[in-house]
């Protein structure tokens, strides 16, 4: 009987951990659950930095549309670049994105987070409005989340709009500046991203 209980307990644990990052399909609840989960993990003193980074990576890979974000930030070059270059870019972009996301979330994880409302813009997009509470180093910050809802069973984050300023757009214009000053050479952009990832 004890063995059976142990087996059952183990199965429940495995099941729970496999679904640890399954959030609601409702965009508003999705953002609320995801961010509060991330904040609680990042402020958990029992987890070391590596464990926190692994958690963030897992959550981001499952819930952020990194592939679309990578193509968006590449701008028009995505239409003309060679497939091999594009694949290489997408791989390094994912690493770059995960590193910068972990860094950004760590910067803001000590603050209280609250979802305010959600506004359905189209069948593809819902904007979830939220705020990060005031702290010593910053006033209250309003954050809008652009949620891609084409697949209603699996909402995905595409952009964070901080006080009206789109992070995806900023990244796109940053990449465009690098490409413009290097004859639109995607390899230069890839090497810059690799440099960021390894530093």
């Amino acid at each position: 009987m004890k063995k059976l209980s142990l087996i059952l307990f183990s199965i429940i644990l495995i099941f729970k951990s496999a679904h640890a990052t399954n959030y609601s399909t409702d965009p508003e609840l999705f953002v609320s659950e995801l961010v509060n989960d991330a904040i609680s993990k990042l402020s958990d003193k029992n987890l070391n930095e590596q464990e926190k980074a692994i958690f963030i990576e897992k959550v981001a890979l499952e819930n952020v549309d990194i592939n679309a974000l990578g193509l968006y930030t590449l701008g028009e070059l995505r239409k003309t670049a060679k497939k091999s270059s594009l694949d290489k870019y997408q791989k390094v972009f994912e690493k770059y994105f995960l590193k910068s996301l972990t860094s950004r979330l760590t910067d803001y994880s000590s603050n209280k987070f609250e979802v305010i409302s959600a506004e359905k813009k189209s069948s593809n997009y819902t904007i979830v409005k939220s705020r990060i509470a005031q702290s010593d180093n910053q006033p209250e910050i309003k954050i809008d989340w652009r949620i891609y809802t084409k697949n209603q069973d699996k909402p995905l984050i595409r952009d964070l709009i901080v006080e009206g300023l789109s992070l995806a757009r900023t990244q796109k214009e940053e990449f465009a500046s690098i490409l413009n000053s290097n004859d639109n050479d995607i390899n230069i952009l890839i090497s810059k991203l690799e440099e960021f990832v390894t530093n």
Partner: protein
């Protein structure tokens, strides 16, 4: 030739350049990127050596002191917002701004408190760059000024005209003109502007650090943020433009 005449000529030339730029689809064209990048580096050095340490010390001050400073500088900035609201035809907002200034200057003890906000009076910052933008004048090319930071031709013209003619606080202090027995000096002007900058830098400590750490081209990221912010202010909106459309098709 008088200084005023020179200012008028500079403004006319800059504005002509901006109007010419209206035909451009890109409003974020660079005037002289290499020089701007150099100036940006200089500004970064200034920030690291002076502004950031001062802002860090400022953040250690008691909350009421910081809040009071923020309210005080915002209240003075209202003086510039009022004529710009009127120039934009926003009579309601001009009324709110005037009411806010009067209430905060009197009941709020020279603007240190903000009782006007509790009374529901809006105090939205406006300048001539925004006013010109609201009439459809594009930004023209983008460049960076020493200490003052990112700007465009339109916003620089706006800043010169604001400081020279529209801003009563600048008229009293920087230009040392007496208005209704109120007078001031250039030191007053610089002091208030410096307090405003330190307050802004202190409030955005985490944002600046995070941006610097996560950018592969900080100059381009700053330019993008500046231009997005100005566009939002001109449109009186906090929503980002949706340009994802062609990725979904």
């Amino acid at each position: 030739m008088g200084f005023k005449k020179l200012q008028l000529i500079i403004c006319s030339v800059l504005l002509a350049l901006t109007v010419g730029a209206q035909a451009e689809t890109n409003t974020d064209k660079e005037c002289f990127e290499k020089i701007s990048r150099g100036v940006f580096q200089f500004n970064q050095g200034f920030d690291k050596a002076i502004l950031k340490p001062v802002a860090k010390a400022y953040n250690k001050l008691p909350d009421p002191v910081r809040k009071g400073t923020s309210n005080f500088t915002s209240n003075i900035a209202t003086l510039l917002s009022i004529p710009n609201h009127l120039l934009q035809g926003e009579v309601r907002l001009a009324g709110h701004a005037t009411g806010s200034f009067l209430v905060n200057t009197t009941i709020g003890v020279l603007g240190l408190g903000n009782p006007a906000a509790l009374m529901g009076l809006e105090n939205q910052k406006e300048d001539l760059g925004q006013t010109l933008g609201s009439y459809g004048v594009k930004g023209g090319c983008y460049f960076v000024l020493p200490i003052l930071g990112p700007t465009t031709v339109r916003d620089t013209v706006g800043m010169i005209v604001d400081t020279s003619y529209l801003d009563p606080f600048a008229r009293i202090t920087w230009h040392e003109k007496e208005i209704k027995n109120i007078s001031g000096t250039k030191i007053d002007y610089v002091g208030v502007k410096a307090a405003d900058v330190v307050d802004f830098r202190g409030n955005n400590m985490t944002n600046f650090d995070s941006l610097e750490k996560n950018s592969i081209d900080l100059y381009a990221a700053t330019k993008s943020l500046y231009l997005q912010n100005r566009k939002n202010k001109i449109n009186n909106s906090s929503e980002s433009e949706d340009d994802w459309g062609n990725l979904d098709n």
